[in-house]
Assembly symmetry: C2
Homo-oligomer: 148 residues x 2
């Protein structure tokens, strides 16, 4: 067992699961969200200015046990959870690539989050197009449902 | 404190930290690596065929305490750990976008890993260009050191 500690909290306009969009780019224009980094971790933000996009990792509060297979209502066939971005994973770590619009006093202004208000933040990484961008990637069973 | 459980193990040609490349695309051609998913989690792999790229999350065995600020030897200025992909993070979760070349019996063939052989695998996510690809993203202080 590996212990994690939240480094901050995410603020979004989504108060309930029903409010959350399927992904953070579905709402146009994408609402402004924020990532509030706790005071004791703010030294880690040095030199973050200059990156236009970040990868945020956060804790998807498990609502029920992990399901390895499930049937998405929009699709109707059983799919593996590792072939989806669904939250009921063995390790429920969420990931979003967000647009970064600056920060003040440890509060980062970001867009493209789709998670609940109050979600625990685990990590911030700079987005590097040299290793993270695959614009031509094939989307498998999700291709017919592509948005954005 | 949040508990995590490894779902598998990563196999790479890199036996020591000194062997690891700075990123998984630095060695050309990128060596074939694998992600071995433990038997009890393999049901979660259903429908993974068809995705050309995956996001792997893994546990960067902490070698020493987290450092919020550090001075990269190739740069010489103090940088925040959240503005880097360095392993000494408060929650040492590593992330790689990998090319996916198929699987047999729960063993995925992938390229572009840069981590140690034996690294614990935490999660597999399908890479979705609609939300994950930002080929024009600005790389901040890392721009002069771009490889790939």
């Amino acid at each position: 067992m590996i212990p994690l500690t939240p480094i901050g909290v995410l603020r979004t306009p989504f108060a309930t699961i029903a409010d959350c969009p399927r992904n953070g780019r579905q709402v146009v224009p994408a609402p402004l969200c924020s990532a509030e980094v706790f005071a004791e971790f703010r030294d880690g933000l040095e030199s973050l200015e200059g990156f236009s996009h970040l990868i945020l990792l956060y804790w998807l509060e498990p609502r029920g046990p992990a399901a390895l297979r499930f049937t998405p209502p929009f699709d109707g066939l059983p799919r593996g959870v590792f072939a989806s971005r669904a939250p009921w994973r063995p390790n429920p770590i969420g990931l979003s690539v967000v647009r970064f619009e600056g920060m003040d006093d440890g509060v980062l202004r970001v867009r493209y989050l789709d998670c609940l208000d109050g979600t625990g933040l685990l990590d911030i990484k700079p987005y590097l197009p040299s290793t993270d961008a695959e614009p031509e990637a094939a989307m498998g069973w999700l291709a017919p449902y592509r948005t954005g």
